[in-house]
């Protein structure tokens, strides 16, 4: 696979440069990995062209995305724990994309939360956030969809998603959110 090392690296380099991929990770999303990714983003002002507000939003969304993955992968067996995380950009937006295995039984409830927030305006999303928060039924593991609602609130863009069935029990959950750069 990676026999011709230098050629392979050149290919990867070209692909990541062309696609404007800032950071990508494949593997277990452990707390240590989460911390490392967040540290890299926190200290990287140059890459964000000193767009403080955008960077803050991207940072917050990445936290929620990675914590969602950690929550799910604790439930899916170890053999299915490999996830992908990608941060990219183009001229107008930053993109945060994740992919991770979840149980098929989780698909419907996730879909309904995602569809619900995608069909709401900002004020409605805020009301929903407050409602869930005040019900206080958020477990450390469950999150009650608050993370997704928080992401929708911060990104102010629709969330794109896809569930790819792997077998009778497991699906691969692809999640994509974008943050528009500040029009200063």
């Amino acid at each position: 696979m990676i026999t011709s090392g230098s050629h392979f690296i050149s290919e990867i380099y070209k692909m990541m440069s062309d696609q404007k991929i800032i950071l990508t990770y494949l593997g277990d999303v452990t707390p240590e990995i989460t911390n490392a990714i967040l540290k890299a983003i926190k200290t990287d002002d140059a890459r964000f062209n000193n767009e403080v507000v955008t960077k803050k939003k991207v940072y917050k969304i990445i936290v929620e995305c990675l914590e969602n993955i950690t929550r799910h992968s604790e439930r899916v067996e170890r053999k299915m724990s490999q996830s992908i995380f990608l941060l990219g950009r183009d001229d107008d937006n930053y993109y945060i994309i994740t992919g991770n295995y979840i149980y098929g039984s989780q698909v419907d409830s996730l879909k309904s939360v995602l569809n619900e927030v995608n069909n709401m305006n900002k004020e409605q999303i805020k009301d929903k956030y407050r409602e869930i928060l005040n019900e206080g039924k958020i477990s450390e593991k469950g999150g009650a969809g608050l993370g997704i609602i928080d992401i929708a609130l911060k990104s102010e863009n629709n969330i794109e998603y896809e569930f790819v069935p792997i077998d009778s029990d497991v699906s691969f959950y692809i999640f994509k959110v974008q943050v528009s750069k500040n029009q200063i």
């Binding site: 707390p31 803050k56 939003k57 929620e64 914590e67 407050r130 928060l133 206080g136």
Partner: protein
């Protein structure tokens, strides 16, 4: 009651609960690996305190750089305790400080303020 003080770490906030000085503060970043483990001792401390505090006045300042969604419900818990302390006769002033560029953090404060009776003073830090 003894004061409770915690230094900030990279992912947990600085905490000062000082009844003698009337100064209460939570500031910095809140993304604990386990939010319950971090916040429950704070809630327990306030549980005890609210039974003792029946007079006087305190200032409670929140100055978050960032908090994650699993910290949010504990922050609301803390606010509900503050609300009770105020109802019990110890006057509480709540200050919600935020980075001037961080509109999201200001909005978060506005959302929290809708859920309790004590009004917030919003302070934008340049």
């Amino acid at each position: 009651m003894d004061a409770l003080r915690l230094d900030s770490t990279e992912f947990t906030p600085k905490v000062i609960f000082d009844p003698a000085g009337g100064k209460f503060e939570i500031s910095g970043e809140s993304r604990p690996e386990n939010s319950g483990k971090f916040y429950e001792p704070l809630i327990n401390w306030l549980d005890q305190y609210k039974n003792n505090a029946k007079s006087g006045s305190i200032n409670f300042e929140f100055r978050f750089e960032y908090f994650n969604s699993s910290s949010a419900k504990y922050i609301l818990d803390i606010l509900k305790h503050i609300n009770t302390i105020n109802q019990n006769g110890c006057k509480v002033k709540i200050k919600w400080s935020f980075d001037a560029l961080d509109e999201d953090m200001k909005e978060s404060g506005e959302e929290f303020s809708k859920l309790i009776d004590v009004p917030f003073e919003f302070v934008s830090i340049e």
